[in-house]
């Protein structure tokens, strides 16, 4: 298959069109801009709609509208813009409609900076809006994996009638790598039972709504949603294990940071340190079983993130306090170096002996 060089942001946009995305509503923000720029050129030529809304709030509500008709739809933004979208995301989750939301993370809080960050982990996995709900969160670590996960994201969203977030970051979005576009169409689920796409006077109205005044009704709706979540947790976790079989130290990292950790693990292995890397690809559901398997021989765990330490909470919960978990991270747009991570691995190795 022919490979081309593309930025993560552009490759994501191309993959979305190939996966059958028909509508994009967004508002520009660095470091996500190449994504909407690409779609603005391509969507009209390829049978889709590109619309630059007047704000992030408008864009996410347009996504809700398109999603309610069963149309494959996406939006993209970066950290501050995602915060603005959180109300709409909660409405989309509460309406049980699928949509793809992209966050190309930058440093925060507030306007923060424009350099890469992973400090939206908590927001993505635990607090993308008010109410009892989750999104499926996918975290690729290469341009090729970005492409592979986009069609998967649309499929998951439609199968479980839930919004899905692809959590990227400024590094992954701006980086160019060789990428091939596999010739697969994302399967489209049957939406005829709920999509508000016109009755043609032949069936009762489909009502897409997130308002339930009767407490018992709302509880019932939420409980049914959580039954779907239980199935997602059971069947849809994804993770990569790198040299974990005999690892006495397991380093956990996701997204772009896992690239840096992999370099550090290779350097540490060259020094004879038994270290491996565990990389969750689904951040929600967090691959708990897979992590425990990867840590079968581990004496210590190190979570490396581009934040002050957020995923470490899930690592600790998954391991249920069986192993000591330490943290190393850089934040605000600073990218950790392989040598910094190597130093942390060496410290743990000294401590373990």
């Amino acid at each position: 298959m022919e490979k081309v060089l593309m930025k993560g942001n552009e490759a994501l946009a191309e993959a979305a069109i190939r996966a059958g995305c028909k509508c994009f509503f967004g508002y520009p923000i660095t470091p996500q801009t190449e994504l909407s720029e690409y779609l603005s050129k391509q969507m009209p030529k390829r049978g889709g709609v590109f619309l630059q809304a007047e704000s992030e709030v408008a864009a996410i509500n347009m996504v809700l509208g398109a999603a309610a008709t069963g149309t494959r739809v996406m939006t993209s933004s970066s950290s501050p813009g995602v915060s603005l979208k959180s109300e709409g995301i909660s409405y989309i989750a509460g309406s049980d409609v699928p949509a793809l939301i992209i966050n190309v993370q930058r440093g925060g809080p507030g306007l923060g900076g424009i350099q890469p960050s992973q400090a939206d982990y908590w927001q993505a996995t635990k607090g993308l809006g008010h109410g009892d709900f989750h999104l499926i969160i996918l975290a690729p670590n290469s341009v090729q994996e970005v492409v592979n996960l986009v069609s998967k994201a649309f499929e998951l969203g439609e199968t479980y009638r839930t919004p899905v977030m692809l959590l990227s970051d400024g590094l992954l979005g701006q980086m160019m790598e060789p990428v091939a576009f596999p010739d697969i169409q994302a399967n489209e689920a049957d939406k005829s039972g709920w999509a508000a796409d016109g009755t043609k006077m032949a069936r009762p109205h489909h009502i897409v709504n997130s308002l339930y005044i009767e407490a018992n009704d709302l509880e019932e709706i939420v409980r049914r949603r959580y039954e779907r979540y239980a199935k997602i947790e059971e069947t849809e976790t994804m993770a990569e294990c790198y040299l974990t079989d005999d690892a006495e130290i397991v380093v956990t990292a996701f997204g772009a940071t896992s690239r840096i950790v992999k370099s550090a693990v290779n350097k540490a292995r060259a020094e004879g340190i038994k270290v491996g890397m565990f990389r969750p690809i689904t951040l929600w559901p967090f691959p708990k079983k897979e992590l425990n398997t990867a840590c079968a021989n581990a004496k210590a765990v190190l979570s490396v993130e581009m934040s002050m330490g957020q995923m470490i909470d899930d690592v600790k919960l998954a391991l249920n306090c069986k192993l000591p978990v330490s943290f190393y991270g850089r934040t605000g747009g600073v990218i950790p170096t392989p040598n910094e991570v190597l130093d942390e691995i060496r410290k743990l190795n000294g401590g373990a002996q």
């Binding site: 490979k3 980086m175 160019m176 790598e177 690239r259 840096i260 370099s263 170096t337 392989p338």
Partner: protein
């Protein structure tokens, strides 16, 4: 074999473009590649650099911190990144814009008056490509034919006339002693 290459200068000098050409040359030869830009919010004139990794193995960290090859297009980047070059590495620097001299003996430093050469040959803004030519002649990384292919891939039809000029700049760099 892995090459970690850092190209640095200020915005508008073609730092990212030069890096992209190297990345495309590597693509044509079936290598693993990463190209990572770093720049600020300025349209031009701000600090700008570009990490290019070329390898037979999958690439871990795409950010080049200790380059095998450094292309420095201005004084501040020459001073900032010269100490980071790996021992045995090579540096290609535009001596028209850089006053400092190389104070290291464990690397090969090629000072090329690239901006001056570009002006003398009516190749304005071609200093980046001239330095790339010097890099190619000293490392043998890619042939001029491969560079031409990369240029063709990265030049829009409306700018097709620049391909020959850029190839002339490559040749000037390759011939500079």
């Amino acid at each position: 074999m892995t090459y970690e290459i850092l190209l640095a200068g200020f915005g508008g000098q073609g730092v990212l473009f030069a890096g992209k050409l190297l990345a495309y040359c590597a693509l044509f030869e079936g290598k693993e590649i990463s190209w990572l830009p770093s720049y600020g919010p300025e349209m031009r004139g701000g600090k700008c650099n570009c990490s290019v990794c070329i390898s037979d193995e999958p690439i871990g960290s795409p950010k080049v911190l200790e380059p095998d090859l450094l292309v420095a297009l201005n004084g501040p980047s020459f001073e900032a990144f010269l100490p980071t070059v790996k021992p045995g590495g090579k540096v290609f620097a535009d001596s028209s814009l850089i006053d400092a001299a190389c104070d290291r003996t464990d690397i090969d430093c090629y000072m090329v008056p690239a901006t001056q050469m570009a002006d003398d040959n009516n190749l304005q803004k071609g200093a980046n490509i001239i330095l790339l030519g010097k890099l190619l002649s000293e490392t043998g990384l890619f042939s001029p034919e491969t560079v031409r292919k990369a240029l063709e891939k990265n030049t829009p039809a409306s700018r097709a006339h620049t391909i020959d000029n850029n190839m002339r700049a490559i040749q000037l760099g390759m011939d500079y002693q």
